[in-house]
């Protein structure tokens, strides 16, 4: 497992993104993310908008930032199998939030 980047979010939680995740999940399903590794990293480090909790998977935290690619959001989903450290499982661009996500940051 090769780590593409590791970063600390504004709550002090450590998050990693593996090369496998980036290539096999993110780029494979969301080719629009080509070249946006830094943007994803920054969205976790310093979300310009919010962090939410997923409605169906409470261990997943969702980071939203403003995308540099246009009027849309960068959405990064991180799974926290341990309380203070998580792993990126996917990231993509969206124009809307999802109903049922619960705000957890800023609190």
């Amino acid at each position: 497992m090769t780590v593409l980047f590791d970063v600390v979010d504004p709550r002090g939680f450590k998050v990693i993104c593996t090369e496998e995740c980036w290539n096999d999940h993110i780029l494979d399903e969301h080719p629009i993310m080509v070249g946006l590794e830094k943007e994803v990293e920054e969205t976790i480090r310093k979300p310009q908008l919010f962090i939410y909790q997923d409605r169906d998977y409470p261990e997943r935290h969702i980071y939203y930032g403003k995308s540099s690619t246009g009027v849309r959001y960068t959405k990064v989903i991180v799974e926290f199998q341990n309380p203070n450290s998580g792993e990126v499982i996917t990231a993509f661009l969206t124009d809307s939030g999802k109903t049922g996500e619960a705000l957890i940051w800023p609190d």
Binding site: I32, D56, R72, T90, L93, T94, D95, K98, T99
Partner: protein, 145 residues
């Protein structure tokens, strides 16, 4: 969900590419279940097409091309955990599909024939569910044959 502004109205999205592609091809181009993330993705264009995600409810999103705003696919989140239990018609064809994948270990030829027949059913059921969700937003999304 509090605080996040919706940046695009569903009515601003276009369905002509979706409609024309299905009229020509009669089936979707790409259908993939991602077990790790629990998402199902359906596309009527090649999978390397860049898309934006536009949520229409707590599980379903439309995928559209950023420049043309043409809808080219669907994405379902929490597919097995929450979405599938809500729709018995889809659940039925999805279970058949699962069975076919298991049969694959025993008899490759027969299993793959079954498998090819089930994917269109999943695509059809999923599109029908999505159509029911988007029609109140003024969008008509033809269902694959």
């Amino acid at each position: 969900m509090a605080g996040l502004e919706q940046l695009m109205d569903t009515k601003e999205l276009k369905t002509t590419l979706w409609t024309e592609t299905l009229e020509k091809e009669h089936s979707v181009t790409y259908l993939k279940y991602n077990k790790k993330v629990d998402t199902l993705t359906l596309l009527v264009v090649p999978k390397d097409t860049p898309t934006i995600v536009h949520y229409i409810d707590e599980h379903v999103a439309l995928l559209y091309q950023p420049e043309s705003r043409q809808i080219v696919g669907l994405r379902v989140e929490a597919f097995q955990r929450s979405f599938l239990p809500k729709y018995s018609s889809l659940q039925k064809v999805w279970r058949l599909r699962d069975t076919c994948e298991l049969e694959n270990f025993g008899d490759l030829i027969i299993a793959s024939r079954h498998y090819e027949h089930k994917e269109p059913e999943v695509a059809r059921e999923l599109t029908q569910i999505t159509q029911n969700l988007v029609e109140k937003r003024g969008i008509r999304l033809p269902v694959p044959a």
